[in-house]
Symmetry: C2
């Protein structure tokens, strides 16, 4: 399977989760779009590109089950988070309920904008390991108060790699009259995503991770009633447009200055690629491998799984807490000495190692990882907490 | 020369000015960076890429004569304009002095943010045609009042394609104690740019126009004393960074979420390309051709040059007013019937046609344009003002 990708052969690539990886077929499509752009830049950027983007939006909408009119492309979920956080109509004293497992760039975004309007960003502490969905939900909602106006939550967390029950969260939030924003950065083509049943008000997902498109292709979904509330993050021609398209949402957010938007246009090819290669089956096998590999990985780290080892909590990512005082050094050693690409991430006051399992990974690679962990334990002090 | 580029052979491409065009050598470099990225996405994006970006910044800084630490890459000048307009420390009642010749996306940006803080965006009406530098300066400064705190001005205007005397503007602004922001979207590698002598406080330029890099590569220059005033347009990991680089300016603005930043990395190749192909000489010849071609172009349009035909006002762009009630239709006809790519732009209450002259253009193409204009005059009503 690795031959389908452009990845280096000499690296045990266990960090698909951070930035994905682009199969050759999708990369070739990327170059073709970029070449087409350069053949006639004006026609591509100012004219045909609009239709190409609409076509890619339709294709994506079909894949994630929503109306294409409720989607715009953004470079990444952080960009989408900034659009929402900057524009959300909350008032001084209101609260946004979230978990303490969110992505660092999103936390920074919410903190920045919350502070500006005097809103409280409530990072509810989640007890790890998760015990059950019910216990998680009870734990989460303890952060709710009568000032809570909004919920922000990841569908799959980043450093801890856990699937969270966002359907139940959105359903309960609706009952409580709260706005919901789900960060699905790690979701599309990783686990099933159906925006018509999820009922989130805002949703963002990356296509450049599990959909394997080139970097800089992601989307923002906004429920119709919220679309008119969002000013552009970057004011450009689409603001007070001289040639409105009929959708202010599209005009405000889709184009903002000259750039190469070819990455967005590869989405139909990505979907075609996944169909052609039976990607659901491939993904299913990867998930089973994650569940199979998790116990020995956790054991190697003298740790325990962060949730019950079931498909309810685990997809193609598995994190475990790692006792180290020097996470960056540990990551560097894994790469330089053992040619293992794997993140060691600080999160709050803990550190986590996370492996991803994609089509090109093998159980032998995880055995190798465990061997290396043992070796590092024997030969260095990097897998101890010092001082 | 056209064989150096990827442009279609069947199009008379007279609109290099809008989005540039990428020579094959630079495009190949782009693909090489993108391939390198896909060989090991984590190393590229999270580690080596930082050094690649610094290297490209150094190369650019050397080219435009400034300190690399005062530069960050942005996708386009509009993005840069948004960073400045959003963060500029002005107070209610203050005025920003600009011309009525500015780029539409920038006007929209300033209007949006000016309104938010109650600042007046003063679009001083510039009398056309320009008569002399002195008359222009006198005309411009009439817009100054004791409330003026800032000047925003293009070094080369977009729809009118004129070089404005920004050195003199910045010098005078300094005397009057005003902040200066120069929009040099059309400047780098088009006319000489030396940021150390210009003395602007903020400057933005596109590399994807006359430097011929792929789309989405531009820069923002900020004089050191203003750097700490600028919050990121997109909050991400660099805001309250856990691993600060030593430059808050770099951390706040250079990286904001996962994207393919390969376009920035082609800048050294662009500079190498221009040296290899004696681009100064090429550009000089193009400018002479613009001056030679301008009279008959203006005559064909029953118009007159927008400024004295000298290198003081004209580079590789030449605009003329066009009497039409249907500019979009005129542009469409030129492309579809005559295979001429050329913009017909509404600006305020007028319309302008603009030709660009790049290495691959010929005087014969401009003769062909004039013939087509005559034909359109004879055969349609598009070159008349109706009703």
């Amino acid at each position: 399977m690795k031959s389908l990708f452009l990845l280096r052969d000499d690296i045990t690539y266990l960090n698909f989760g951070s930035f994905g990886a682009c199969p050759k077929e999708i990369f070739d499509d990327y170059i073709q779009w970029q070449t087409l752009l350069e053949r006639e830049p004006v026609q591509f950027i100012a004219k045909d590109g609009v239709e190409y983007v609409r076509n890619a939006l339709s294709s994506l909408a079909n894949f994630i089950h929503c109306d294409a009119g409720d989607l715009v492309f953004v470079p990444n979920p952080t960009f989408a988070g900034n659009i929402i956080a900057r524009n959300i109509r909350l008032e001084k004293g209101d609260e946004i309920l979230t978990t303490d497992l969110e992505y660092g760039a999103m936390d920074r975004t919410w903190k920045y904008y919350s502070q500006q309007i005097g809103v409280k960003y409530v990072q509810q502490k989640i007890d790890l390991p998760l015990v059950s969905k019910e216990v998680f939900l009870e734990n989460f909602w303890k952060g709710h108060s009568r000032k809570t106006k909004m919920v922000f939550i990841s569908q799959i967390t980043s450093s801890t790699g856990l699937i969270l029950p966002v359907h139940e969260i959105c359903e309960e939030a609706k009952k409580r009259g709260l706005i919901t924003f789900v960060d699905g950065a790690h979701v599309p083509a990783h686990i099933d995503l159906n925006l018509s049943t999820l009922q989130a008000d805002f949703y963002t997902g990356a296509c450049h991770k599990w959909m394997m498109t080139p970097k800089g292709s992601s989307f923002l979904f906004v429920r119709k009633e919220f679309q008119s509330q969002l000013d552009p993050l970057i004011i450009s021609w689409g603001y007070e447009s001289a040639a409105p398209s009929g959708s202010q949402f599209f005009d405000y957010h889709q184009f903002n200055g000259t750039r190469d938007f070819s990455a967005y246009l590869t989405i139909p090819k990505s979907i075609e690629f996944m169909e052609k290669h039976n990607w659901r089956t491939v993904s299913q096998a990867c998930k089973q491998n994650v569940l199979n590999a998790a116990p020995s990985f956790c054991e190697a780290l003298d740790s325990q799984p962060l949730a019950p080892l079931t498909p309810e909590f685990f997809g193609q990512l598995c994190s475990a807490e790692v006792k180290t005082s020097r996470p960056e050094e540990l990551q560097k050693l894994l790469f330089e000495e053992y040619k293992i690409e794997m993140p060691v991430m600080r999160h709050q006051d803990k550190n986590f190692m996370r492996f991803s399992f994609q089509a090109f990974n093998t159980m032998a690679e995880l055995d190798y990882l465990n061997d290396c962990i043992q070796k590092i334990k024997r030969e260095t002090s990097l897998l101890r907490v010092e001082g």
